[in-house]
Subunit: 262 residues, 2 copies
């Protein structure tokens, strides 16, 4: 009888072709499975909560695996595992789970954050931030985002034609300028996201701003279900998977808003 | 008659052998002078407020140069200059100055910040942060730092024997744990700093913690004037030159404390 374990990991996406294992390219899942196999000396298969695209980072990605190993000292296990991982991937939590837990299927929501430095010059200390010199209006962007709330067919924001299930439920969406005025952060929380969907939504916000369209355009683009109407897919470098949630989303949103608005 | 200009720049030190021009190695000053010469089409010599060591970063370093060029559109000049610089160096301000202004000699104070992640696991999003797993006591470190305030001979914290003038005046020194408990930041503000001095002070704080010495040891080490009594030079990667000041230091300190303690 094997034991199921859940891991919480974080990574910088820059050096990887996404999170999901693929033949011939370097991915987050490859690195994690390689390290687990070396440490546990078993062939380990991991299930991620979902895939992040090439170049996308994660502050908290969740995955599970089953193993014959009974881990007694969890801190020591994490230390050993991290020592086997590249510097840009770290495991920061391990937990024993029932077999009913499934990193992907049990997930209740995902929270993505896209950050834009909107100033006349870059900041060399920034990580995972898109630079945009063109002055953006965060209030207008926020207004446009509200049209995405609720359950909709997001075909207009998908990047590949091969995904037939395009209905997603967006629980929270916000664009906000930082207190120093130099950054705009875009938070989107939903039950699921299509391939490239967050980046295409951000690209559409940038299009609305640059072409001086009405925020209502977002609603029209959504309703059209036509990818051609949306903006270009924004660069992966600005995107972070903030967290994957397995509990009440409303509680999480309230806590999160309280934190960023304090 | 040439015009004197002051530039404010920021950089990541990781890829450079320090700020100061040296034959055969890559430095911040080399990159800045190369970009200025290309843009202005004059041979430009820059004077920095002071040098930062190999691997040390700066959030605000100041330098001046003289040129025959009359810069009319400063924003455009900065844009063109930044386009000629590597991604890890950015110029964010240019100002016309009288010939009485001297980036090094007119400086009233320098503010250095050293950041330590003091948790069981690294954070992949960190930049310019030293990782230390060993649990540190920020209160004890802060107490030790207070013995450095005022004018002293800092020979105990110098790294090279060839500097005869070792008297520095420290105006402010603070070690503080972050609100999430995972970081310790060490701020030191003084009129001048010896080569490697801040890093050796930080190394001494780490020695005091690891060897469980009394905070008063800092005072004894300072008074001994013996480098052998101080701790090892802490890694350059945690150090940032926060700013160089040309005005009243007290005003700056009050404003800074107000900001970090809010």
């Amino acid at each position: 009888m094997t034991q199921r374990y859940a891991l919480k990991i974080q990574y910088l996406g820059k050096n990887y072709k996404g999170s999901q294992k693929q033949v011939g390219v370097n991915t987050i899942q490859d690195e994690i499975e390689k390290a687990l196999c070396t440490l546990i000396k078993e062939s380990i298969k991991t299930i991620f909560s979902g895939r992040t695209d090439a170049g996308v980072s994660a502050r908290c990605q969740v995955l599970h695996f089953d193993s014959n190993l009974i881990i007694e000292n969890e801190a020591k296990f994490l230390n050993s595992l991290n020592a086997l991982l590249p510097d840009d991937i770290r495991v920061f939590e391990i937990a024993k789970k029932d077999k009913t837990f499934h990193a992907q299927k049990s997930a209740m929501f995902r929270h993505y954050k896209y950050t834009i430095r909107n100033d006349f010059v870059e900041n060399v200390f920034d990580r995972c931030v898109l630079f945009c010199k063109y002055k953006l209006n965060a209030n207008r962007m926020n207004e446009a985002l509200q049209y995405l709330l609720g359950e909709h067919d997001f075909s207009a924001f998908k990047s590949k034609s091969d995904n037939p299930a395009c209905v997603c439920n967006i629980y929270f969406a916000q664009a906000k300028r930082s207190s120093d005025g130099k950054y705009i952060t875009i938070d989107i929380i939903g039950n699921r996201f299509l391939y490239n969907m967050v980046r295409t939504i951000v690209g559409t916000l940038l299009m609305i701003e640059k072409d001086n369209l009405e925020p209502l355009s977002m609603f029209e683009i959504l309703k059209s279900k036509e990818r051609a109407n949306a903006g270009a897919t924004a660069d992966a470098k600005g995107l972070i998977l903030e967290t994957v949630g397995y509990d009440n989303c409303l509680e999480y949103i309230n806590k999160y808003i309280g934190k960023v608005h304090k």
